[in-house]
């Protein structure tokens, strides 16, 4: 049998798309939610109060706590509240051995905050799928390659790319699904290509280690060291013998750092109270597109003299950081976040329509298929329900779990994850047992209702649930998404128009 290139690519797009589409939908949906990870995190820590502190006051609160409780620590850290997060944290030592507490911004005392996997869960799931070790990162990379292949093959097999640029014909069964799939793919093509490519580029060293092996003998440390520009010059003249010395006033340093770098995220002090004390001040991500890890400016802790930073990046490093930054979407403030969030949701919907299309196409021929094919399509349909409706249900159940699980329980973050994955597993069982349209309807309906009633859960379980704007935003957005889910539920409950009516009159009547 001879095939044209278009036919081969169509086959690749259909079956390849189905295989990668399921997990890609999960990646895109959780990735979209991760755009608002900090806001979701605020919602999941309802104990955090609003604050009205300046950076100077916040640092003072943090330092006075540390002076009182941790006077002998080698390192102090204060992470500052900022636009997106009201949390003031004081910490000592490294990430592993140190202590870290949340402070009440109003009193400076320790604030008991519930343990939670938090909004970070969506971010972690987005690129690891919670698989063991590095496996998830490789799987997600392979899926991203699959996404690129699906995008390119999709462009080639789409015959009326410009002619149907704005075309969507609803209520026409398979035709409508194809229109929705095509138009959402074409209109958001710049976003699809950008987000997929930049997602791959973030882990380029992991996916393509050959260059690092050849040039740096596979040593990641050597590789990262080579990325840094020349080390700070002032380093040499630091005194070897340290003796007690008072810490310099930190206010002017903060002002100076803010002038140079924009809004700040935190301060850390090495050897506080000694003559070799050093102060590092870090900017928040998102003052520029490039994703900057660590960095910031360093000052002498006694004289206040600037020691280094912010460092200029080499062109190659900057390129990589900017491409990664375009994926992380930390720049451009809330307007940009909304653009990324909605684009991400539409991308998820694009993948979803593709998956649905696969089964809609085969439903008509279902009866005439062989036994094996019938079972296969039945399973594919159930997985479709689980991946799309089920994941939505698992996500909202995760939020419910955060408020409903006892605040003081042990291993609380793990329990929240159990709620998420347990719910997701249940939806698979449900989808396999119920007739397909019932499964769609029940899962979409339940997810929609749970989204809509999220504020009610807050009202009944926590105090001052809308004390923060971001918490109110999370609940209102969730309600809007719940509305969309219920609309989808209502749509699938409608009697199906499988056979496309040939007359155009009904559609025209709708238009006018």
């Amino acid at each position: 049998m001879k095939q044209t290139i278009t036919q081969s690519l169509a086959w690749l797009h259909t079956w390849g798309g189905l295989i990668v589409g399921w997990l890609l939908f999960a990646i895109f949906l959780t990735g979209s939610l991760a755009v608002f990870d900090q806001e979701i995190d605020n919602w999941m820590h309802p104990e955090l109060p609003a604050h009205h502190l300046t950076d100077e006051q916040a640092v003072e609160r943090g330092l006075s706590y540390l002076r009182e409780h941790e006077p002998n620590a080698k390192q102090w850290g204060v992470s500052l509240p900022y636009d997106r997060s009201p949390e003031l944290r004081a910490s000592t030592g490294g990430r592993r051995d140190g202590v870290s507490v949340t402070l009440d911004p109003n009193t400076g005392e320790v604030l008991p905050v519930r343990e939670s996997a938090g909004g970070r869960f969506f971010f972690l799931f987005h690129f690891t799928l919670f698989m063991p070790g590095m496996l998830g990162i490789y799987v997600v990379g392979a899926l991203a390659m699959g996404m690129l292949a699906a995008l390119i093959s999709g462009i080639v097999i789409h015959k009326k790319f410009f002619k149907e640029f704005f075309t969507f014909r609803p209520a026409k069964g398979q035709r409508s699904w194809l229109d929705a799939h095509n138009a959402s793919a074409v209109l958001l093509l710049p976003f699809h290509l950008m987000i997929t490519y930049s997602g791959l580029a973030i882990f380029l060293v992991i996916y393509m280690p050959a260059a690092m092996d050849a040039l740096f003998d596979g040593s990641r440390d050597a590789f990262f060291k080579a990325q840094d520009p020349a080390p700070a010059v002032v380093e040499a003249k630091r005194p070897a013998q340290a003796e007690p010395a008072p810490l310099v006033a930190i206010g002017p340093l903060l002002a100076k750092a803010r002038d140079v770098m924009g809004p700040l995220s935190g301060v850390s002090i090495t050897n506080p109270g000694m003559s070799n004390a050093e102060i590092q001040i870090r900017p928040i991500l998102g003052n520029r597109i490039a994703l900057i890890k660590g960095g910031g400016m360093r000052f002498d802790g006694v004289t206040g003299e600037q020691l280094s930073g912010p460092t200029e990046m080499r062109a190659s490093v900057l390129t990589h950081r900017v491409i990664s930054g375009m994926h992380f979407a930390q720049f451009g403030g809330y307007p940009m976040r909304w653009v990324y969030f909605i684009c991400g949701l539409i991308s998820s919907a694009m993948i979803a329509t593709g998956l649905v299309l696969f089964t809609v196409k085969r439903r008509r021929k279902y009866a005439s298929e062989g036994r094996v094919a019938q079972v296969l399509y039945r399973v594919i349909e159930a997985v479709n329900v689980t991946v799309m409706a089920g994941l939505s249900l698992a996500c909202i159940a995760y939020l419910w779990g955060n408020h409903l699980l006892p605040v003081g329980m042990a291993e609380r973050p793990d329990a929240e994850l159990t709620v998420f994955f347990g719910m997701w597993a249940l939806t698979l069982v449900h989808a396999l047992l119920r007739p397909r349209m019932h499964a769609w309807r029940e899962q979409l309906g339940l997810a929609g209702v749970m989204c809509l009633s999220l504020p009610l859960v807050s009202l009944l379980t926590v105090d001052h649930s809308w004390a923060l704007h971001s918490r109110m935003g999370v609940e209102l957005t969730t309600m809007a998404l719940g509305g969309v889910l219920l609309w989808a539920c209502w749509k699938v409950s409608q009697p199906q128009v499988e056979r496309v009516p040939r007359k155009k009159a009904t559609v025209l009547a709708e238009v006018n």
Binding site: F165, L187, L188, R288, P335, M336, I346
Partner: protein, 117 residues
């Protein structure tokens, strides 16, 4: 500041709307008659001009490094909004830009007020 975002979005929508109406199929969908050649050209010209204006306002709102990224996003999103409106409420899709003017004016007034206080 916020007015720039609104303007960037509004011009992106107007641009996509004009380009869309420059296509015979969608012009007919709204007005039930084919457009003249001159009108089609004018609509396309206006569409591209409006997208250019949107680019300018994106640059004003986000700065020239981040602006282009936001511009692509806004064009895509307004195109998608148009896609969803056309089959259900075609006339609304066409007249919607008239609603942008008071919206923009209100926001501009509010931001002026905030500056003066």
């Amino acid at each position: 500041m916020l007015a720039n975002y609104i303007a960037a979005w509004a011009f992106a929508y107007i641009g996509m709307l004009a380009l869309c109406q420059g296509l015979e199929r969608h012009y007919k969908q709204v007005w039930n008659k084919p457009p003249s050649t001159g009108l089609r050209r004018a609509l396309r010209g206006a569409g591209w001009l409006s997208l250019a204006l949107s680019f300018y306002f994106c640059g004003m709102a986000w700065g020239w490094a981040m602006g282009p990224i936001g511009w692509f996003g806004l064009i895509s999103l307004s195109g998608f909004a148009l896609l969803m409106l056309l089959p259900y409420r075609a006339r609304l899709a066409v007249w919607l830009p008239l609603g942008f003017v008071p919206l923009w004016a209100v926001i501009e007034m509010l931001s002026l007020y905030r500056w003066s206080v």
